[in-house]
C-alpha cells in the first residue's frame, strides 16, 4: 500500500513502488562509446597536467584519456587503477568540480572542463565488465601486515601490500567491507551494488584475509596486532559523530545512520521517511541526507546551515544538486531547541549573521515543523589505541603515513592531511603501503 507524501509522521512507501528505482538511478549516467570518444578528443594532453596535480591520487589523466581516444579503454583503466585502485568509485563520487575538472585548462578556456570523471568511469567500467583484474602479486615475502578498517584507505593499503607479495589480514568492525563506500556514499552515486562488486574485484589480487566483525579495542589491542604482524596500518575512518548540545537534542538522528540504513536497505519502499525533514549541517553529508530524504518521498526537505550559503562546505555543484532536487537551503540559522509537538517536532533556530568570519546570534528566530530531524555536523575520531599523537582530532601522520609509534602507519579519514574524501583515503592507503614495503624490505 502506498502512503501519501502528505501523510504526517514517519512512514515507509510514500511513493508508488516503481518510482524508487527511477529516483535512485545513476545521477551521472555512463558515457556511450561515441560520447566518450568525443569527450576524450577534447583533452589537450597538457604538460605537467594541472588535472593530475589536482587529483589527490595523482592519476595520469592526459595519458589515460589518450588511451581512450586511441581505442584502448582497458589500458586506460590500468593507468587509472595503478595510481588509485578505487578509480571506479572515485569516478562516480569525486567532487571533480573542485579537483581534476576544476583545474582543467578547458575549464579556464571555455568554462567546460574535459569530463574527466565520466571518462574515468568509462575506462574502469570497461575493465570491470571484462572481469579482468590487471594486477598480480610479486614473489611472496614472509611479512604479514595487519590493516585495521576495510574502507578505501585500508583496502587500498591491503591491495598494494598484497601486490608487493606480503600477506595481509584486514580487520573490520562491520559485517561488510567497504567502509563508507558501502555505508556512506549516496545511493544514486553508485547504484547497483557497485561498491560491493568493486571490493570483490579488488580482493581478486589474493593474499588478503578479511576478518569481519572484529573491532580494535573490542576484539584485540594494537599490542596484539604488533605481536602477530610485522606492521600495522590504521584506517578506521571516523567512527563518531558530533552531537547537538541543545534541549531536545535526543530527537535528532545522525544523518550518517540514516544513510547507512538506506544503503543497506533491500527495498527502499520499506524505508520510513518523515513528511517534513530538516537536516542540520552544511556539508556533503547534509546534502546527501536531504536529497535522499526527498527522493524517498518526503514532502519537504530543508537544510539549515548556521553560516552564510557561500560558506557552506558543500560545493556549489552539490548545492545545485540539492536545490534542483527540491531541497530548500536555509542559511544563517543555528538550532537552539527541539520540541516535541502533536505530530512531530518543532525546531527552533536563532538567526545568525557572519561578519569577517565571526558568527553572531541575532534576536530573530525561526521555527520549523519537522517529522524527522537529522544532524550532519561533522564526524569524529572514535576511540584510538594509546600512544598515538592526535592533532586536530586526527591521528598525526607524516607524508608517508607513519604515526609516532614504531611499525604503525595510518591513513584515510582517521589520519591528518588531505580532505575527507574517498580519493584521499585511497591515495594515503597506497602511499603507506609503499612505505611499509620499503621499511620491511630495508629491514
Amino acid at each position: 500500500m502506498t502512503t501519501s507524501q502528505f501523510q504526517p509522521g514517519i512512514m515507509p512507501g510514500r511513493l508508488p513502488a516503481e518510482d524508487y528505482c527511477h529516483a535512485f538511478a545513476d545521477t551521472a549516467p555512463p558515457l556511450t562509446d561515441h560520447a566518450a570518444r568525443v569527450a576524450a578528443d577534447r583533452c589537450y594532453f597538457c604538460y605537467d597536467a594541472p588535472c593530475t596535480t589536482a587529483c589527490p591520487s595523482g592519476i595520469d589523466v592526459p595519458l589515460f584519456i589518450r588511451q581512450i581516444a586511441t581505442g584502448q579503454p582497458e589500458a586506460a583503466a590500468v593507468t587509472i587503477l595503478s595510481q588509485n585502485i578505487f578509480g571506479g568509485l572515485c569516478a562516480r563520487v569525486c567532487p571533480t568540480e573542485t579537483l581534476c575538472e576544476g583545474a582543467c585548462v578547458r575549464e579556464v578556456a571555455e568554462g567546460k572542463p574535459v569530463e574527466i570523471g565520466l571518462l574515468q568511469r568509462h575506462a574502469t567500467d570497461r575493465l570491470q565488465a571484462a572481469g579482468v583484474h590487471p594486477f598480480s602479486r610479486a614473489e611472496r615475502t614472509d611479512f604479514s601486515i595487519a590493516v585495521v578498517g576495510a574502507g578505501p584507505a585500508g583496502l587500498a593499503c591491503a591491495h598494494r601490500l598484497a601486490m608487493k607479495g606480503h600477506e595481509v589480514t584486514l580487520y573490520d568492525a562491520r559485517l561488510k567491507p567497504g567502509g563508507l563506500n558501502e555505508y556512506g556514499i549516496a545511493a544514486y552515486k553508485a547504484p547497483g551494488g557497485f561498491a560491493a562488486k568493486e571490493v570483490a574485484w579488488l580482493l581478486q589480487i589474493g593474499g588478503i584475509t578479511l576478518l569481519e566483525n572484529w573491532a580494535l579495542g573490542r576484539n584485540g589491542t594494537l599490542a596484539d596486532l604488533l605481536e602477530d604482524h610485522d606492521a600495522v596500518f590504521l584506517g578506521m575512518g571516523l567512527a563518531g559523530v558530533n552531537a547537538l548540545t541543545i534541549p531536545g537534542a535526543e530527537h535528532a538522528t545522525p544523518a550518517t545512520d540514516f544513510i547507512a540504513h538506506l544503503r543497506q536497505s533491500e527495498d527502499l519502499a520499506t524505508l520510513p521517511i518523515g513528511r517534513r525533514v530538516v537536516v542540520i549541517g552544511g556539508g556533503m553529508t547534509a546534502v546527501d541526507a536531504a536529497v535522499q530524504a526527498k527522493l524517498l518521498g518526503a514532502e519537504t526537505s530543508t537544510i539549515v546551515y548556521r553560516r552564510s550559503q557561500p560558506e557552506m562546505p558543500a560545493s556549489l555543484h552539490e548545492q545545485d544538486h540539492a536545490q534542483t532536487h527540491g531541497v530548500r537551503i536555509v542559511p544563517n540559522a543555528t538550532p537552539v531547541a527541539i520540541r516535541k509537538d502533536e505530530v512531530g517536532f518543532e525546531v527552533e533556530f536563532a538567526r545568525t549573521a557572519t561578519r569577517d568570519g565571526t558568527m553572531t546570534l541575532l534576536e530573530d528566530t525561526l521555527r520549523l515543523k519537522a517529522d524527522q530531524v537529522f544532524t550532519a555536523i561533522g564526524q569524529t575520531l572514535g576511540p584510538v589505541p594509546e600512544g598515538l599523537t592526535i592533532t586536530g582530532g586526527k591521528i598525526a601522520i607524516d607524508a608517508t603515513g607513519r604515526t609516532g609509534l614504531a611499525k604503525v602507519w595510518a591513513g584515510g579519514d582517521c589520519a591528518s592531511g588531505g580532505e575527507d574524501l574517498t580519493v584521499t583515503a585511497s591515495a594515503q592507503g597506497r602511499d603507506a603501503a609503499e612505505d611499509i614495503h620499503a621499511f620491511l624490505m630495508g629491514a
Binding site: 570518444r37 568525443v38 578528443d41 577534447r42 589537450y44 594532453f45 597538457c46 604538460y47 605537467d48 597536467a49 594541472p50 585548462v105 578547458r106 579556464v108 578556456a109
Partner: protein, 439 residues
C-alpha cells in the same frame, strides 16, 4: 555584395565554385540538386567508352583519416569512372544543360589511347551542348592498370598527344586534369600546353593506403580480405595541391595557362588561397561528400565579403596575387628576425608550447611554478612550433626591425641578405670575400 561571376576559358558561371568530377556529379539527380544549392558549375563524373560500363567493387570503396571528434580530414577511394551506360549519361547531360543554361557544365572523359576513341566520344559530348571537356589523366587506380588515367598523366608525351587529338577533333574548350603522382608537376602541365590545352586542373587524388585492419592485416577499405591503394583527397591534401598550383603558376613556360584549383577546398578561405596562388576557379569534391551541397552558401557569402573588404569587384582581380611572393628558399631574407610573443591574458597554461620547445626544439619557453610561460628571446629561433601547437592561438610572431638587437645572436638585425649573398654559402658570390665564417 561583390559579384562573383566568373569566366574560365570562355565558360561562364555565376560563381567560381564548381564541383569536381566525382560521385557528386555522377547523375542528373545530384547535379540538379547541386545547381539548386547554388554551385556555379560541375565537371560531370568521368565518362568512358561506349559498350559495357566499368564495374565497381560492391564492398566499401572509401577509407578516411580523422581529426578530433571524427572530423574527416582525408578521404581515400577505390572507385572507378562512371559505371552507368554512356547513352544515359549523355542524355542526362543534355537535359540538365538545357535546364540550367547559366551554369557551367564540363564533361570529364577517359577513353583508351587511340585517336578514334577520342574522336567518337568528343562528337557525342559536343551533341549534348556541354560547355567543355576535362581530360581525366589522373585516376590512380583501376583505370591506370588499363593504360588510362594516371598511366597517361605520368607520361608527358601521351598527354601532349591526346590533348592534340582532342583539340583537333573538337572546338570545345579543353581542360587537362593532372595527377599529383609525379615528381615534377610542371612537366605534364607543359605537355598539356604544347598539346593545345586551354587550361589545366589539379590535383587529382594521391596514391594512398589510409589504414590497415589490424585483425585481418589487410589494407582498408578491405574487399574480401584484400585491399589496394586508392586515391587520397580532402583537407589533408590541400597543402600539396596549393604547392602544385603555385609551381605551374610561377613557371615561366606555363604562367599564362589558366588553372582550375582542386584538392581539399572546403571553405571560402581555401578557395581564396587557391585563387591567390593562380587558380581562376576551384573544384570541390570531398567537402560536399562530407557535408552536402549547402556548404556553397558559406563559400559564396565568405568570398563576397572578403572581396568587399579588399575592394575587389571581380574574382579575376584576386587571381594570382600571391604568385609573385612564391620564391625559392635561397632568395628568402636570412636576416629577417621574429620572436614568439605570448598574449598572457589568452593563455590557458596548458604547457604545450613549453614542452614541445623543451623536448624537441630550442629550449626557448620557460614555465614557472604557477605555469606561466615566457619566451626566452635569447634562445628563440622563431621556428613557429609553439604557434602551431598552441590550442588557443595566443602566440604570435613579432618582427624585430632592422637595427634592433637580437638577444639570441647578440648582434643587431641586419639588412636583407639571402643565401646567394650569404658568406656561409660556399658557392655564393659572397663566399670568395668571406674569410671568417659567421655564426
Amino acid at each position: 555584395m561583390a559579384n562573383l561571376s566568373s569566366e574560365f576559358i570562355g565558360i561562364k558561371s555565376p560563381n567560381p565554385f564548381w564541383l569536381a568530377s566525382a560521385p557528386p556529379t555522377d547523375k542528373e539527380y545530384n547535379v540538379r540538386r547541386a545547381y539548386e544549392a547554388g554551385w556555379g558549375g560541375v565537371v560531370w563524373k568521368t565518362l568512358g567508352m561506349d559498350g559495357p560500363p566499368v564495374v565497381n567493387v560492391s564492398g566499401p570503396r572509401y577509407g578516411a583519416i580523422y581529426g578530433p571528434d571524427r572530423t574527416l580530414l582525408g578521404l581515400n577511394n577505390i572507385e572507378l569512372i562512371t559505371d552507368r551506360p554512356l547513352e544515359v549519361n549523355l542524355r542526362e547531360i543534355k537535359t540538365v544543360k538545357r535546364d540550367y543554361p547559366d551554369r557551367a557544365l564540363v564533361v570529364s572523359l577517359m577513353v583508351p589511347c587511340d585517336e578514334e576513341s577520342w574522336k567518337f566520344i568528343l562528337r557525342e559530348v559536343e551533341n549534348t551542348g556541354a560547355d567543355g571537356v576535362e581530360l581525366n589523366f589522373g585516376c590512380p587506380h583501376g583505370m591506370a592498370e588499363r593504360g588510362m588515367g594516371a598511366a597517361v598523366g605520368q607520361v608527358p608525351e601521351y598527354i601532349e598527344m591526346v590533348t592534340r587529338w582532342v583539340k583537333t577533333h573538337s572546338r570545345m574548350p579543353c581542360i587537362v586534369k593532372l595527377t599529383p603522382n609525379i615528381t615534377d608537376i610542371r612537366k605534364p602541365a607543359e605537355a598539356a600546353q604544347r598539346g593545345g590545352a586551354d587550361a589545366v586542373s589539379l590535383i587529382n587524388t594521391i596514391n594512398s593506403i589510409t589504414s590497415v585492419d589490424l585483425d585481418l592485416f589487410a589494407p582498408e577499405p578491405t574487399i574480401d580480405g584484400m585491399g589496394t591503394h586508392g586515391g587520397y583527397c580532402g583537407p589533408a591534401v590541400k597543402p600539396i595541391a596549393l604547392n602544385m598550383v603555385a609551381e605551374i603558376a610561377r613557371n615561366a613556360e606555363t604562367r599564362k595557362l589558366p588553372i582550375s584549383g582542386i584538392g581539399g577546398v572546403t571553405t571560402w578561405r581555401d578557395a581564396a588561397e587557391f585563387m591567390a596562388l593562380g587558380a581562376s576557379n576551384v573544384q570541390v569534391c570531398t567537402a560536399v561528400m562530407t557535408y552536402g551541397f549547402r556548404i556553397v552558401e558559406e563559400m559564396i557569402a565568405g568570398l563576397s565579403a572578403f572581396m568587399d573588404q579588399k575592394g575587389f569587384t571581380a574574382t579575376s582581380e584576386l587571381v594570382g596575387l600571391a604568385v609573385p611572393k612564391v620564391t625559392d628558399w635561397q632568395y628568402l631574407n636570412l636576416n629577417y628576425t621574429t620572436k614568439a610573443v605570448i598574449k598572457q591574458e589568452d593563455c590557458i597554461k596548458c604547457g604545450r608550447c613549453h614542452v614541445v620547445c623543451e623536448d624537441t626544439s630550442h629550449q626557448a619557453i620557460a614555465m614557472a611554478a604557477d605555469r606561466t610561460v615566457t619566451v626566452k628571446d635569447e634562445e628563440c629561433v622563431a621556428c613557429n612550433l609553439c604557434v602551431d601547437v598552441c590550442p588557443t592561438g595566443c602566440i604570435s610572431m613579432q618582427e624585430l626591425p632592422v637595427g634592433t638587437l637580437d638577444p639570441r645572436t647578440g648582434r643587431p638585425v641586419g639588412t636583407p641578405l639571402n643565401w646567394t649573398e650569404h658568406p656561409n654559402n660556399p658557392s655564393g658570390s659572397a663566399a670568395a670575400c668571406a674569410r671568417e665564417p659567421a655564426e
